[in-house]
Symmetry: C2
Subunit: 649 residues, 2 copies
């Protein structure tokens, strides 16, 4: 794309760029000078060490080598001294000390922390400090004192609607660690799949996963991988609803007679575990006991959301059971079920986590409510003595701009009594319209902004600053191995049938993919519909369009010209190509947007006034051009609308 | 970049694109209709099968899923039937039958071969046939009968000058298999490193590798990985020269007293094994015996190139030994050494391969000469009864255009007597200026064109057709996991310090990196100089510039405008950035080239004649602007020169 932004803003560049840190540390005092990062860069561990810390140093050093392209030479002088005060403690517990102190001067750097986890957090900050400068790669002199605002900072990944192989999980764990998140919430079972090997009940994965499940060895590998990066793994086995995949192998657990088949659609479905039979609880005792030993974290998520009551209402035995136990409605039946499940979890040494719906009287006070409904629900949970984590406002599958999530504070509107009950928050990546190929781009870089909300002081709220730092942070994240920026290129090339895809790239960069609400697919085989369309290669938020916010007219003219030509360039590429058929109308719209932009610039640049009402007509036209097509919205419209509005003034 | 080529050439697009096959099969008969590739696509093995074939089917199916983005569903109808006639034979031998026959119709496809290897080759052809069409992804109806021209089609990779981890090796093996190469020549020892674990002589890797070596388990893994993909692995341990790294741990093997240190410079160095001592040969017997059991292929490369005679000349004992054995010069001493090494290799069941220099009387007739010097050398080898493989003309480190290598025929100028001695050819990737990060882009996609030269009939020589197919093939190769196209983006972002790097991308796309001859680095620590410069992110051959060959004036004007603006866009980005300092003069030149182009278009488009001599002056200016800077050549000059020459006519 032909963008000239920097030509027109030389002063912006002459200024010292702000430190591209995210999450912004609690306290940053900038010094003068810088530490040079060259082939001699080395980390020296002072005092006690262990294999875990040495491995972390090796990973950190390899990252520095990767992000700078410098071939580090063993045995040179140390440039970063590490002091880990209590590194012998290997537990990774909610609320552990994650603070660290980092000092960088031209002579060297030091990183001090009380815990191994604190050291990990400091390494990430140091890595973010490294940038090219007057003498090559360098880290600026700075003193940083940092600790998190909330002890529970999570990302939930749904591996059921679409399967996510171990490599996807691990690279996302690396990226999580890079922005100091500390809970990986693994949504492991749902109507569309049961994704863990059970040795006690092997038909769960054999019949409920299409062969896509994690072996127990893989689970242990991922848990260890996360632990080494200071991340707890909280598994979720969603029940009593969202259990269709369990019932394929074990129909006797259901509240209605089988047979059951793996669900291929999206939505809320009828199948639910039978809460009235003791055999259900003995099964759960077996399964949860097995899973409890596989997942060492003391917190265990039992889901509990979106229970459809129809099977329970239709069942004579369940209704009889309810009367016998004085359970007057399905909510009370579910509450009974929850209490039973909690007892099983307690027996296996676990504290229960559940979605809003599990909240209700009679649960242990160590219960944690994950709130996808928000404030009132958290207040209610707190009133009952439970703790909460907030997910309302952090649903990544909505594909909203980073700023939308960034503005949601976990404590906004929370009354003083509730505050002590709030452990933190979690972003959620539900995977109806997300595959292993696209998931990274649906989580990152927006997740980095959310991570700042979870870690940094409440006062860190400047959205412009967030976006300014997100540009380099998004690029820096690539060195962790995450593919949020790299995956789209080959996807667009694929759509173009191997031809140069420049026009498609221009269109993609001017577009934003709609989230789940704009993408409802009620196909019988929804889970089998390929996610290889244009929308899947389009980012949730257009960095290109955001960049144009401060562009001058010459740059805008170049961009608008490129947009205006898009349809003509796309047409031959789309010829005889079914995959591009839906894209052509979008290209036509982009060209129309570009032409309006060019005409507007003609008026502005020439000083010749536009005819009466011309601008108003264009605004109406732009509104029409902004209507989604092919599940994509033209972000380009925002830019032209702003230019047209200058004429209106 | 703003390119409008296709806008101006709609007819080119309306035509059916040629099949993007590379190497072009021996016989292709196009039919009518196509086979649809959808979620039901499945491979059915007819007749006998084994785990190796099933694994190959799984890999192939996973690739189809990846390249189409389709989530394949187990259990649907078979779309490709596979018949492997003699799949029980697990050997992978020089000259084995690699032929296959592939029939695709709208009803289904069948792939038949005599061997497992033939099936693998056919899978790659089928995968290349898949492209988006009127009904989604499809493979055109076609009948293909194919077999290779040469039985030895290799790629040599130097892992000594720069270390290449297992992941790099394996992804290159996957890409090799994709274009039907069948020999991976692994250059494992040199002055700068000894890269394999020896258990008999552990100081080889302990002191000679900086810790960068393959364990024996890793070697076995790579050999098995290659075998499963129909690729033989031929190891090279270069001797008696190029052995500095051996002598660090075992100085007693040298022809001069030690101590020795790992070589950090590039070039030809003095250290050489002592050919006069029996202890040298007993060491080699031990080492080669150990390595012979690690590498199952019957061919074993002992290097033998570039032996510097100075240590031998200075050594009294070696000179006395030479007199005693009637060896009248260093060449004869080396020939003696070669014969001894060959005997050792024979004892361990291996046939010897060596570079040109080993050629000479007295070797076994099963010796294979790898010719980096070319024709005369091969004729001489043949006269002595030896076989040859050609590498002259296929040195990838020269970073020449694909067409240059493509035009080199292994049999060009070879007389009829020599022809039967020529087994095939190998491209060589020496790694002085190539790292794990950049190596893919220095091999691919040019290697695909070379692979066509090695596989396809001699008559397949149309360079235009090769380039036309190379565009989609380069993109298709990405699905193998090779990073030749994806690695440069993050490298440019790194240079730009995390800022949007659009201007840098424009410059890189208009540039071509110089090869080894333009990049001599005589630094004492040459091997430690980072390969993170602009040149390292620039391709050897500019696809962008090649695309512009047929562009019309409006498109050229857009491109020239972008070039003309490049310096101004680069300047603020380069401010205070040491890594971009060397790039600015190049950006200045690109802008000058763009301005000449624009002025030329003004004359051409307006019909107003240019002043007398104007064009000639521009040609001179362009020549100056084409002079390399920062080890990069501006390919953009070619485009503007062509436009200016229109004025001269």
């Amino acid at each position: 794309m032909g963008r000239l932004a920097w030509l027109l803003l030389p002063i912006a560049f002459a200024q010292a760029a702000p430190l591209a840190l995210m999450p912004m540390p609690a306290k940053v005092v900038e010094g003068s000078g810088f530490l040079r990062i060259d082939a001699g860069f080395r980390v020296q561990i002072e005092g006690r060490t262990d294999s875990r810390l040495r491995a972390a140093v090796d990973r950190f050093t390899a990252r520095v080598a990767r992000q700078t392209g410098i071939l580090l030479v063993p045995g040179n002088h140390a440039a970063l001294q590490v002091v880990c005060r209590k590194c012998e403690d290997e537990t990774l517990a909610l609320g552990e000390d994650e603070s660290y102190q980092l000092d960088v001067s031209s002579d060297g750097a030091s990183l001090q922390a009380n815990t191994f986890t604190g050291i990990l957090r400091g390494f990430e900050t140091f890595s973010q400090l490294i940038a090219p400068g007057p003498a090559g790669f360098q880290a600026p002199a700075v003193r940083i004192e940092d600790q998190p605002r909330f002890p529970w900072r999570g990302l939930m990944l749904d591996v059921c609607r679409h399967w996510m192989p171990v490599a996807v999980v691990e690279r996302n764990i690396d990226a999580m660690a890079a922005v100091k998140l500390n809970v990986f919430h693994w949504h492991l079972s749902d109507d569309q799949g049961f994704r863990v090997e059970s040795r006690k009940f092997p038909k769960l994965q054999q019949l409920g996963s299409d062969g896509n499940f994690y072996t127990q060895a893989e689970v242990r590998e991922v848990v260890a991988y996360a632990r080494d990066r200071g991340i707890r793994v909280v598994p979720e086995f969603d029940m009593p609803g969202h259990t269709t995949a369990w019932l394929v192998g074990y129909p006797g657990l259901g509240s209605a007679p089988g047979p059951y088949a793996i669900e291929r659609k999206w939505g809320i479905f009828e199948p639910a575990l039978d809460p009235s039979r003791e055999s259900t609880y003995s099964f759960l005792d077996g399964l949860l006991g097995e899973m409890a030993s596989l997942f060492p974290d003391p917190y265990f998520h039992m889901g509990g959301d979106e229970v459809e009551e129809v099977q329970w209402k239709r069942s004579g035995t369940i209704q009889a059971f309810a009367r016998e136990h004085h359970l007057s409605n399905s909510g009370e039946i579910q509450a009974y079920f929850n209490r039973r499940v909690q007892k099983i979890l307690q027996k296996h040494g676990k504290m229960m986590v559940g979605w809003d719906e599990v909240s209700g009287p009679g649960l242990a006070t160590d219960t944690v409510i994950q709130s996808w409904r928000g404030g009132a629900s958290m207040a209610e949970a707190a009133a009952q003595g439970y703790r909460s984590i907030l997910s309302f406002g952090y649903y990544l599958d909505a594909l909203q701009p980073a700023a939308v999530h960034y503005r949601v504070d976990p404590l906004a509107g929370v009354d003083a009594r509730t505050v002590p009950h709030i452990l933190g928050a979690e972003a959620c990546m539900w995977s109806e319209y997300v595959s292993a190929e696209t998931v990274d781009s649906r989580i990152w870089p927006r997740m980095a902004a959310i991570a700042e909300r979870f870690w940094s002081p409440r006062e860190v709220t400047d959205t412009d600053s967030m976006y300014e730092r997100l540009v380099p942070i998004s690029r820096w994240l690539e060195w962790t191995g995450i593919q949020h920026r790299s995956a789209a290129g080959p996807m667009l090339d694929r759509l173009a049938g191997g031809r140069p895809a420049g026009a498609l790239r221009v269109l993609a960069a001017a577009s934003e993919a709609l989230g789940i609400a704009g993408r409802r697919n009620l196909n019988e085989n929804a889970s089998r519909v390929p996610l290889n369309r244009f929308v899947d290669a389009v980012p949730p938020e257009s960095e290109t369009v955001r960049d144009l916010e401060h562009a001058g007219n010459p740059e805008l003219r170049a961009v608008f010209t490129e947009w205006a030509e898009n349809e003509a360039r796309m047409k031959p590429m789309a010829e005889g190509n079914a995959l591009l058929k839906e894209v052509l109308p979008l290209a036509r719209n982009l060209s129309a947007v570009g032409r309006i932009g060019l005409k507007t610039l003609d008026y502005l640049d020439s000083g010749q006034p536009a005819p009466e009402g011309w601008a108003a007509t264009q605004i109406v036209a732009l509104q029409k051009l902004e209507e989604p097509l092919a599940q994509v919205r033209l972000a380009a419209v925002q830019v032209v609308r702003r230019v047209v509005s200058k004429i209106q003034k």
